[in-house]
Protein backbone atom coordinates (compact mmCIF):
# COMPACT_ATOMS: atom_id res chain seq x y z
CA UNK A 1 0.00 0.00 0.00
CA UNK A 2 1.32 3.46 -0.87
CA UNK A 3 0.38 6.74 0.63
CA UNK A 4 0.38 9.42 -2.06
CA UNK A 5 0.76 13.16 -1.58
CA UNK A 6 -2.70 13.80 -3.08
CA UNK A 7 -4.45 11.30 -0.81
CA UNK A 8 -2.68 12.67 2.27
CA UNK A 9 -3.40 16.30 1.43
CA UNK A 10 -7.05 15.51 0.75
CA UNK A 11 -7.31 13.68 4.08
CA UNK A 12 -5.72 16.58 5.97
CA UNK A 13 -7.88 19.17 4.22
CA UNK A 14 -11.03 17.20 5.00
CA UNK A 15 -10.22 16.62 8.65
CA UNK A 16 -8.99 20.13 9.40
CA UNK A 17 -11.43 21.99 7.10
CA UNK A 18 -8.48 24.24 6.27
CA UNK A 19 -7.75 25.56 2.80
CA UNK A 20 -4.78 23.37 2.00
CA UNK A 21 -4.08 25.28 -1.21
CA UNK A 22 -2.27 27.71 1.07
CA UNK A 23 -0.37 25.05 3.02
CA UNK A 24 3.03 24.05 1.69
CA UNK A 25 4.38 20.51 1.91
CA UNK A 26 7.03 21.66 4.41
CA UNK A 27 4.76 23.84 6.53
CA UNK A 28 4.43 22.76 10.15
CA UNK A 29 1.02 21.26 10.83
CA UNK A 30 0.86 20.10 14.43
CA UNK A 31 3.23 22.60 16.06
CA UNK A 32 1.24 25.45 14.58
CA UNK A 33 -2.14 24.05 15.61
CA UNK A 34 -3.37 23.42 12.07
CA UNK A 35 -3.87 19.81 13.16
CA UNK A 36 -5.23 19.34 16.67
CA UNK A 37 -4.89 16.27 18.88
CA UNK A 38 -8.21 14.82 17.71
CA UNK A 39 -7.21 15.12 14.06
CA UNK A 40 -3.86 13.60 15.00
CA UNK A 41 -5.62 10.51 16.38
CA UNK A 42 -7.41 10.25 13.03
CA UNK A 43 -4.13 10.70 11.16
CA UNK A 44 -2.46 7.86 13.06
CA UNK A 45 -5.30 5.48 12.15
CA UNK A 46 -5.18 6.74 8.55
CA UNK A 47 -1.41 6.10 8.37
CA UNK A 48 -1.78 2.55 9.67
CA UNK A 49 -4.52 1.92 7.12
CA UNK A 50 -2.44 3.22 4.20
CA UNK A 51 0.89 1.71 5.15
CA UNK A 52 -0.29 -1.61 6.51
CA UNK A 53 1.77 -1.01 9.63
CA UNK A 54 0.95 -0.95 13.31
CA UNK A 55 2.41 2.07 15.05
CA UNK A 56 3.72 1.98 18.57
CA UNK A 57 4.69 4.69 21.05
CA UNK A 58 8.35 4.24 20.04
CA UNK A 59 7.48 5.37 16.48
CA UNK A 60 5.97 8.60 17.64
CA UNK A 61 8.08 11.69 17.23
CA UNK A 62 6.69 15.10 16.43
CA UNK A 63 9.49 15.63 13.91
CA UNK A 64 8.16 12.68 11.88
CA UNK A 65 4.63 13.99 11.64
CA UNK A 66 4.79 17.77 11.49
CA UNK A 67 4.54 18.41 7.74
CA UNK A 68 3.18 16.76 4.61
CA UNK A 69 6.65 15.80 3.44
CA UNK A 70 7.66 14.36 6.82
CA UNK A 71 4.43 12.35 7.09
CA UNK A 72 5.02 10.97 3.58
CA UNK A 73 8.59 10.00 4.43
CA UNK A 74 7.46 8.43 7.71
CA UNK A 75 4.66 6.56 5.90
CA UNK A 76 7.09 5.24 3.28
CA UNK A 77 9.48 4.01 5.97
CA UNK A 78 6.64 2.29 7.82
CA UNK A 79 5.39 0.65 4.63
CA UNK A 80 8.86 -0.82 4.01
CA UNK A 81 8.71 -2.27 7.50
Amino acid sequence: MTLTREVLREFLATKTRANFDNVGDDDELFSTGLIDSFAMVELLGFLEQHTGSRLGPEDIDIDNLDSVNRILAFGAAQAQG
Partner: protein, 309 residues
Protein backbone atom coordinates in the same frame (compact mmCIF):
# COMPACT_ATOMS: atom_id res chain seq x y z
CA UNK B 1 -54.01 38.93 -6.74
CA UNK B 2 -52.66 35.81 -5.05
CA UNK B 3 -55.40 33.95 -3.22
CA UNK B 4 -53.24 32.40 -0.50
CA UNK B 5 -51.25 35.07 1.26
CA UNK B 6 -49.25 33.14 3.80
CA UNK B 7 -45.92 31.43 3.18
CA UNK B 8 -44.52 29.09 5.82
CA UNK B 9 -40.84 28.09 5.66
CA UNK B 10 -40.07 24.73 7.26
CA UNK B 11 -36.92 22.70 7.67
CA UNK B 12 -34.85 21.15 10.41
CA UNK B 13 -33.03 23.90 12.34
CA UNK B 14 -29.67 24.72 10.67
CA UNK B 15 -30.96 23.84 7.21
CA UNK B 16 -30.91 27.31 5.69
CA UNK B 17 -34.31 28.49 6.89
CA UNK B 18 -32.96 31.82 8.17
CA UNK B 19 -31.20 32.47 4.88
CA UNK B 20 -34.47 31.83 3.05
CA UNK B 21 -36.29 34.09 5.50
CA UNK B 22 -33.94 36.97 4.83
CA UNK B 23 -34.23 36.55 1.07
CA UNK B 24 -38.03 36.42 1.13
CA UNK B 25 -38.16 39.41 3.46
CA UNK B 26 -36.11 41.40 0.94
CA UNK B 27 -38.85 40.90 -1.66
CA UNK B 28 -41.07 43.98 -2.01
CA UNK B 29 -44.27 41.91 -1.73
CA UNK B 30 -43.33 39.67 1.21
CA UNK B 31 -42.74 40.43 4.87
CA UNK B 32 -40.99 37.68 6.84
CA UNK B 33 -40.20 38.82 10.38
CA UNK B 34 -37.52 37.22 12.55
CA UNK B 35 -38.72 34.17 14.46
CA UNK B 36 -42.11 34.76 16.11
CA UNK B 37 -42.75 31.28 17.57
CA UNK B 38 -46.42 31.78 16.65
CA UNK B 39 -46.87 28.46 14.88
CA UNK B 40 -45.09 26.31 17.46
CA UNK B 41 -47.14 28.06 20.18
CA UNK B 42 -50.30 27.24 18.24
CA UNK B 43 -49.10 23.66 17.86
CA UNK B 44 -48.69 23.40 21.63
CA UNK B 45 -52.25 24.73 22.03
CA UNK B 46 -53.41 21.85 19.83
CA UNK B 47 -51.35 19.22 21.66
CA UNK B 48 -53.36 16.14 22.50
CA UNK B 49 -52.76 12.68 23.84
CA UNK B 50 -54.55 9.47 23.02
CA UNK B 51 -55.65 7.39 25.96
CA UNK B 52 -57.21 3.95 26.33
CA UNK B 53 -60.24 3.29 24.15
CA UNK B 54 -58.73 5.72 21.64
CA UNK B 55 -60.07 8.84 23.36
CA UNK B 56 -58.09 11.95 22.43
CA UNK B 57 -57.46 14.33 25.31
CA UNK B 58 -56.78 17.90 24.25
CA UNK B 59 -58.36 21.21 23.41
CA UNK B 60 -60.04 20.05 20.20
CA UNK B 61 -61.82 17.10 21.79
CA UNK B 62 -62.45 19.10 24.98
CA UNK B 63 -64.15 21.92 23.12
CA UNK B 64 -66.06 19.45 20.95
CA UNK B 65 -67.94 18.38 24.10
CA UNK B 66 -68.81 22.07 24.56
CA UNK B 67 -70.26 22.28 21.07
CA UNK B 68 -67.35 23.77 19.11
CA UNK B 69 -66.39 21.87 15.98
CA UNK B 70 -62.76 21.13 15.13
CA UNK B 71 -63.02 23.36 12.05
CA UNK B 72 -64.34 26.19 14.19
CA UNK B 73 -61.51 25.92 16.74
CA UNK B 74 -58.83 25.61 14.07
CA UNK B 75 -60.36 28.57 12.20
CA UNK B 76 -60.28 30.79 15.29
CA UNK B 77 -56.73 29.81 16.14
CA UNK B 78 -55.64 30.33 12.52
CA UNK B 79 -57.28 33.76 12.48
CA UNK B 80 -55.36 34.77 15.60
CA UNK B 81 -51.99 33.51 14.34
CA UNK B 82 -52.40 34.84 10.81
CA UNK B 83 -53.79 38.09 12.22
CA UNK B 84 -50.47 38.95 13.85
CA UNK B 85 -48.62 38.19 10.64
CA UNK B 86 -51.11 40.10 8.46
CA UNK B 87 -50.89 43.13 10.71
CA UNK B 88 -47.11 43.02 10.74
CA UNK B 89 -46.96 42.73 6.92
CA UNK B 90 -49.31 45.72 6.60
CA UNK B 91 -47.09 47.72 8.94
CA UNK B 92 -44.17 46.91 6.64
CA UNK B 93 -46.21 48.09 3.65
CA UNK B 94 -46.26 44.63 2.11
CA UNK B 95 -49.25 42.61 0.93
CA UNK B 96 -48.05 39.14 2.00
CA UNK B 97 -46.41 37.51 4.96
CA UNK B 98 -44.03 34.62 5.38
CA UNK B 99 -43.26 32.89 8.67
CA UNK B 100 -40.20 30.96 9.74
CA UNK B 101 -39.27 29.69 13.17
CA UNK B 102 -36.52 27.08 13.16
CA UNK B 103 -37.94 24.70 15.73
CA UNK B 104 -41.36 24.59 14.03
CA UNK B 105 -40.13 21.43 12.32
CA UNK B 106 -40.63 19.57 15.60
CA UNK B 107 -44.32 20.56 15.60
CA UNK B 108 -45.00 20.01 11.95
CA UNK B 109 -47.96 17.66 12.24
CA UNK B 110 -49.99 20.20 14.23
CA UNK B 111 -48.78 23.10 12.09
CA UNK B 112 -49.83 21.26 8.92
CA UNK B 113 -53.21 20.56 10.51
CA UNK B 114 -53.64 24.28 11.22
CA UNK B 115 -52.25 25.71 8.00
CA UNK B 116 -52.78 23.15 5.23
CA UNK B 117 -54.85 24.61 2.40
CA UNK B 118 -54.28 28.14 3.66
CA UNK B 119 -50.57 28.69 3.05
CA UNK B 120 -47.73 27.80 0.73
CA UNK B 121 -45.17 25.63 2.43
CA UNK B 122 -41.53 26.22 1.43
CA UNK B 123 -39.65 23.17 2.69
CA UNK B 124 -35.88 22.98 2.79
CA UNK B 125 -33.73 19.93 3.52
CA UNK B 126 -30.02 19.65 4.24
CA UNK B 127 -27.64 16.73 4.56
CA UNK B 128 -28.33 15.18 7.96
CA UNK B 129 -24.73 14.85 9.09
CA UNK B 130 -24.08 18.52 8.35
CA UNK B 131 -27.22 19.40 10.31
CA UNK B 132 -26.02 17.28 13.25
CA UNK B 133 -22.65 19.09 13.27
CA UNK B 134 -24.30 22.48 13.01
CA UNK B 135 -26.87 21.75 15.73
CA UNK B 136 -24.06 20.64 18.01
CA UNK B 137 -22.31 23.98 17.34
CA UNK B 138 -25.55 25.82 18.09
CA UNK B 139 -25.79 24.11 21.47
CA UNK B 140 -22.14 24.91 22.20
CA UNK B 141 -22.75 28.57 21.39
CA UNK B 142 -26.02 28.97 23.25
CA UNK B 143 -24.91 26.87 26.21
CA UNK B 144 -28.19 24.99 26.48
CA UNK B 145 -30.69 22.78 24.78
CA UNK B 146 -34.11 23.92 23.63
CA UNK B 147 -37.03 21.89 24.89
CA UNK B 148 -37.55 20.16 21.55
CA UNK B 149 -34.16 18.43 21.96
CA UNK B 150 -34.57 17.30 25.58
CA UNK B 151 -36.16 13.97 24.78
CA UNK B 152 -33.43 13.13 22.24
CA UNK B 153 -30.70 13.91 24.75
CA UNK B 154 -32.36 11.83 27.45
CA UNK B 155 -32.48 8.84 25.12
CA UNK B 156 -29.13 9.42 23.35
CA UNK B 157 -26.55 11.01 25.67
CA UNK B 158 -23.99 11.56 22.88
CA UNK B 159 -24.96 15.00 21.52
CA UNK B 160 -24.05 14.14 17.92
CA UNK B 161 -26.23 11.05 17.97
CA UNK B 162 -29.07 13.00 19.58
CA UNK B 163 -28.82 15.69 16.88
CA UNK B 164 -28.65 13.08 14.12
CA UNK B 165 -31.77 11.35 15.46
CA UNK B 166 -33.56 14.70 15.71
CA UNK B 167 -32.66 15.37 12.07
CA UNK B 168 -34.08 11.99 10.99
CA UNK B 169 -37.43 12.67 12.68
CA UNK B 170 -37.82 16.24 11.45
CA UNK B 171 -36.52 15.59 7.93
CA UNK B 172 -38.93 12.67 7.59
CA UNK B 173 -41.83 14.89 8.74
CA UNK B 174 -40.85 17.59 6.24
CA UNK B 175 -40.58 15.00 3.44
CA UNK B 176 -44.02 13.65 4.32
CA UNK B 177 -45.49 17.16 4.21
CA UNK B 178 -43.99 17.65 0.74
CA UNK B 179 -45.42 14.31 -0.42
CA UNK B 180 -48.90 15.05 0.90
CA UNK B 181 -49.39 18.76 0.22
CA UNK B 182 -49.45 20.03 -3.37
CA UNK B 183 -48.86 23.54 -1.99
CA UNK B 184 -45.48 22.49 -0.59
CA UNK B 185 -42.24 22.96 -2.50
CA UNK B 186 -39.12 20.94 -1.76
CA UNK B 187 -35.69 22.63 -1.71
CA UNK B 188 -32.18 21.64 -0.75
CA UNK B 189 -29.76 23.79 1.21
CA UNK B 190 -26.90 22.58 -0.98
CA UNK B 191 -28.70 23.89 -4.10
CA UNK B 192 -29.53 27.18 -2.39
CA UNK B 193 -25.92 27.96 -1.57
CA UNK B 194 -24.65 26.70 -4.95
CA UNK B 195 -27.09 28.75 -7.04
CA UNK B 196 -29.24 31.05 -4.87
CA UNK B 197 -30.95 32.77 -7.78
CA UNK B 198 -32.16 29.54 -9.37
CA UNK B 199 -33.61 28.28 -6.09
CA UNK B 200 -35.22 31.58 -5.14
CA UNK B 201 -36.76 31.84 -8.61
CA UNK B 202 -38.38 28.44 -8.01
CA UNK B 203 -39.72 29.60 -4.65
CA UNK B 204 -41.15 32.81 -6.07
CA UNK B 205 -42.77 30.98 -8.96
CA UNK B 206 -44.29 28.54 -6.44
CA UNK B 207 -45.82 31.33 -4.34
CA UNK B 208 -46.82 33.43 -7.34
CA UNK B 209 -44.47 36.38 -7.04
CA UNK B 210 -42.13 37.78 -9.70
CA UNK B 211 -38.35 37.55 -9.51
CA UNK B 212 -36.63 40.79 -8.50
CA UNK B 213 -33.16 41.61 -9.78
CA UNK B 214 -30.71 42.11 -6.92
CA UNK B 215 -32.97 40.34 -4.42
CA UNK B 216 -30.33 38.02 -2.97
CA UNK B 217 -27.74 40.79 -2.71
CA UNK B 218 -30.28 43.07 -1.01
CA UNK B 219 -31.12 40.33 1.48
CA UNK B 220 -27.50 40.10 2.56
CA UNK B 221 -26.62 43.77 2.60
CA UNK B 222 -27.09 44.02 6.35
CA UNK B 223 -30.24 46.12 6.29
CA UNK B 224 -32.45 43.22 7.38
CA UNK B 225 -34.41 43.24 10.59
CA UNK B 226 -32.81 41.80 13.69
CA UNK B 227 -34.51 39.22 15.88
CA UNK B 228 -34.44 35.55 16.82
CA UNK B 229 -32.85 33.31 14.22
CA UNK B 230 -29.60 31.85 13.03
CA UNK B 231 -26.87 34.38 13.87
CA UNK B 232 -24.48 32.79 11.38
CA UNK B 233 -26.26 34.16 8.34
CA UNK B 234 -26.05 37.69 9.77
CA UNK B 235 -22.28 37.41 9.78
CA UNK B 236 -22.13 36.75 6.08
CA UNK B 237 -22.17 39.27 3.26
CA UNK B 238 -22.33 36.61 0.55
CA UNK B 239 -23.67 33.10 0.18
CA UNK B 240 -21.06 30.38 -0.10
CA UNK B 241 -20.95 26.62 0.13
CA UNK B 242 -18.24 26.38 2.79
CA UNK B 243 -20.60 24.59 5.19
CA UNK B 244 -21.43 21.81 2.73
CA UNK B 245 -19.80 18.50 3.61
CA UNK B 246 -18.37 19.67 6.93
CA UNK B 247 -19.37 16.31 8.43
CA UNK B 248 -16.39 14.75 6.63
CA UNK B 249 -14.11 16.32 9.25
CA UNK B 250 -15.74 14.21 11.98
CA UNK B 251 -13.82 11.21 13.32
CA UNK B 252 -14.64 8.03 11.41
CA UNK B 253 -16.36 6.34 14.39
CA UNK B 254 -18.69 9.33 14.68
CA UNK B 255 -19.40 9.23 10.94
CA UNK B 256 -20.14 5.51 11.19
CA UNK B 257 -22.51 6.03 14.11
CA UNK B 258 -24.39 8.83 12.34
CA UNK B 259 -24.48 6.95 9.04
CA UNK B 260 -26.18 4.00 10.69
CA UNK B 261 -29.03 6.24 11.83
CA UNK B 262 -29.20 8.74 8.99
CA UNK B 263 -28.56 6.74 5.80
CA UNK B 264 -32.15 5.52 5.22
CA UNK B 265 -33.44 9.11 5.45
CA UNK B 266 -30.56 10.47 3.37
CA UNK B 267 -31.50 8.02 0.63
CA UNK B 268 -35.20 8.88 0.88
CA UNK B 269 -34.28 12.52 0.34
CA UNK B 270 -32.06 11.73 -2.65
CA UNK B 271 -28.66 12.13 -0.96
CA UNK B 272 -25.92 9.58 -1.38
CA UNK B 273 -25.75 7.32 1.68
CA UNK B 274 -22.67 7.95 3.79
CA UNK B 275 -20.00 5.34 3.22
CA UNK B 276 -18.26 4.16 6.35
CA UNK B 277 -14.55 3.74 5.78
CA UNK B 278 -12.16 1.71 7.83
CA UNK B 279 -14.77 -0.27 9.72
CA UNK B 280 -14.93 -0.38 13.50
CA UNK B 281 -11.90 0.63 15.52
CA UNK B 282 -11.16 -1.89 18.26
CA UNK B 283 -10.97 -0.66 21.85
CA UNK B 284 -7.30 -1.53 21.89
CA UNK B 285 -6.53 0.47 18.72
CA UNK B 286 -8.57 3.43 19.92
CA UNK B 287 -6.62 3.46 23.19
CA UNK B 288 -3.25 3.06 21.42
CA UNK B 289 -4.00 5.95 19.02
CA UNK B 290 -5.17 8.11 21.90
CA UNK B 291 -2.01 7.44 23.90
CA UNK B 292 0.17 8.24 20.89
CA UNK B 293 -1.69 11.50 20.26
CA UNK B 294 -1.23 12.45 23.92
CA UNK B 295 2.48 11.74 23.61
CA UNK B 296 2.58 14.02 20.53
CA UNK B 297 0.72 16.75 22.43
CA UNK B 298 3.36 16.65 25.16
CA UNK B 299 6.12 16.86 22.53
CA UNK B 300 4.37 19.82 20.93
CA UNK B 301 4.08 21.64 24.28
CA UNK B 302 7.80 21.09 24.94
CA UNK B 303 8.76 22.20 21.44
CA UNK B 304 6.64 25.34 21.64
CA UNK B 305 7.96 26.15 25.13
CA UNK B 306 11.53 25.78 23.85
CA UNK B 307 10.95 27.97 20.79
CA UNK B 308 9.06 30.50 22.91
CA UNK B 309 11.91 30.64 25.41
Amino acid sequence: MTERKGIVIVGTPRSGTTLLRRILDAHPAVSCPPETYLLSAAARFLHEERFAQGLRIGVLSGLSFAGFSEDDVLGRLRAMVFGFLDEHAQAQGKPRWAEKTAFDAFHLDAIARLCRGHVYFVCIQRHGLDVACSLRDLVDKTGGYVEELHDYLRRFPQPLEAMGRAWVDTAERVATLVAEDPMAIDLRYEDLVADPEAVVRRVLEHVGEPWEDGLVERALDGAGRVGFGDWKTYGRAAIDDSSVGRWKSLPEPAIGMLAAHCNPTLERLGYEPVEVRGGEVSDEDARRHYEMALRLSRMKAKKNAKSGG
